[in-house]
Amino acid sequence: MEYIVEKLKHCDLLSISGRIDSQSAPELSEALDKIMESGQHKIVLDMSEIEFISSAGLRILINAQKKCKQQLVAGELVLAAVPERVHEALDMAGFLPLFTIEDELTHAVGNI
C-alpha cells in the first residue's frame, strides 16, 4: 500500500493505492489517524488505485467513519472513485448505507 495526503481547504484528500490486507491495513489506519489528529475530520478517500482490499481494510474504514462522525462538529469519511471490486466488498459488508460514495473525486471534494 502507498498513500499521499493532500491538505485542502475543505478536507484532506487521502489517495491510497495497491494492496490493503491484514499486513498493510495498519498503515492505512495510521494515515487516517494522523489526519484526524491534525484536527481535520472531513476526509475524502480516493480509492481509484486500490488493487485489492480485504476485511482488514474495511475494518479501518468503519472505525475512521465512527471517529469522524463522533466529532462535535461532525466530520465525514467520504469514499471516492471506488473500483467495482471494492464496491462489491463494501456491499457484501453492508457498508454502503454508512458511507457517502462519490464516483468523481471532484464531486467528493466539492460536496464534503
Partner: protein, 147 residues
Amino acid sequence: MSFKKVVVFPAKLENLAAIDALIKSTAELAGLDARSIYAIRVATEEACSNIIRHAYQGIEDGTIECGCYSNMDSFTLVFRDSGHVFDLTGVPSPDLDSCLEDRKAGGLGVYFIKQLMDEVSFEHIPGTGNVLTLVKYLTPDSEKSST
C-alpha cells in the same frame, strides 16, 4: 485441465502478498473468470490472515500449507495449519444492519469466505492439524472466459 500445486509458507502477515500471488496465478492458469479469481483471492486473504493472527496466536514459527487443486468442475483451496483448533464454519453471520455506532468493525472475514466460496469445510486431524477446504465451482461462464 487438471493440476495441483502445494506450497508451504511461514505464517507471517508479510507472506500474505506472496500467498496471494500464488493463488492468483494458479487460479488464472485454471481458467477462472476475473470475478471468481478476485473472490478466491479475498477468501484466501481472510483464511490465511485468520490462521496467522488467531490460529497461531501465541505460537512462534507456525506454517501454512496452501494447496490449489484444479479440475474441470471446480477449483479447490486447502489450507493446513497446526495452530489452535477452530472450526470457522460454526461462526454466526455478523449483523450487517445496525447503525454506524453499533456496527462492529471486525467479524467480516469468515462471513466473506462463506459468501465468496461455494463450499467451506473444516476438519481437525489429531496429530496433524487443521484443514480448511474452500471450493469454487467453475461456472460455464468462467470456463468460457478461460479460452
